[in-house]
Symmetry: C2
Subunit: 197 residues, 2 copies
């Protein structure tokens, strides 16, 4: 399975394409970064990111897109720009009917390094080892995009199994509730007749 | 000039098209709301909003798009969704080469009611009066979208004049600095010869 990982941002948007093989085998297909000028209009910057992501989707044809989920940042303005960049990436994927999954930074760090609190250098180091890269991906956003793709490849099977298990549990609960309701209906009138002497 | 105002949101995205005439004359062309199901995938919801906004742009052909600027909200998750919805709207406009301007809620309230702290009911009331609407736009997001369009029509000429004045001032400052630098170059050596007796 091929995944496009995206570390969204207006100034730098990291892109990384990774192929997943048997077990934990992963292979780097492409890595890069989209930059948009800080003095350009917001809508123009979003268009620049969207156009570049669309050309990556056309060129590499991934089966899924993994985007970093933004919760909150110190700088609200930056967080909003990051969310907007992530939004246009998700839109481009949806237009091609591709599944888009958002992963939190700590999920990505935990998947790649084993620790949700790993620093940037540790993540980059593990990404280089896992993908057999001789040159450090630059800037860090590019390494983060590769880490996101790896995280998705490794977490997705588990996430799907979990979703299936939850759906089964919900179905069992639904059936059980329906039986209880039916039983209450049947025993209800008897109880009433018992009370009325 | 015709403006599409957008009050972005994933659950409800308000849309309002307003024509501006001479002075402060405004006329309502269309008003509505796009809803996307809360249980749908985020990327699908963004696609639903994008498709609807694109069809409005094609149908009403506005000259500009005014979007509410999100700063921060109590609920970070909601704020991110709002930012993402606003991002795909800005993208749709940029694809059609339309200018997109973001206005803050207090700018909109101040433009329409005269007070940046007006409440929803006051904004809706003034929108109805200004546009001669007999029926209250529902939901509130639809009224907000109309208010955004009106705000844009009334603020834009002033905003452009301000930008032109700032550009002129920057140019004057640049010329003045260049003259000072040239003068310093010419007087510099004289001063030095004066010090060296």
């Amino acid at each position: 399975m091929r995944v496009l990982g995206v570390d969204p941002g207006l100034t730098r948007c990291g892109l990384g394409v990774v192929d997943g093989g048997k077990g934990r085998a992963v292979r780097c297909v492409a890595v890069g970064v989209v930059r948009t000028p800080a003095d350009a209009e917001l809508s123009r910057r979003l268009l620049g990111i969207s156009d570049e992501v669309e050309s990556w989707l056309d060129k590499y044809r991934p089966a899924a897109v993994a985007v970093e989920r933004v919760f909150a940042q110190h700088n609200v303005r930056t967080a909003m720009g990051t969310a907007q960049a992530g939004g246009v990436v998700a839109l481009a994927a949806a237009r091609r009917n591709l599944p888009v999954v958002f992963h939190t930074p700590s999920e990505v760090k935990a998947a790649v390094t084993g620790s949700g609190r790993a620093d940037k250098a540790q993540v980059t180091g593990m990404v280089m080892r896992l993908l057999n890269l001789e040159v450090k991906p630059h800037p860090a956003d590019a390494a983060d995009a590769l880490a996101l793709a790896i995280c998705h490849l490794w977490r997705e099977p588990m996430r799907q199994r979990l979703a299936e298990a939850e759906a089964r549990a919900a179905e069992i609960a639904r059936v059980h509730k329906a039986r209880l309701a039916a039983a209450a209906k049947n025993t209800g009138p008897k109880k009433n007749t018992g009370v009325a002497r």
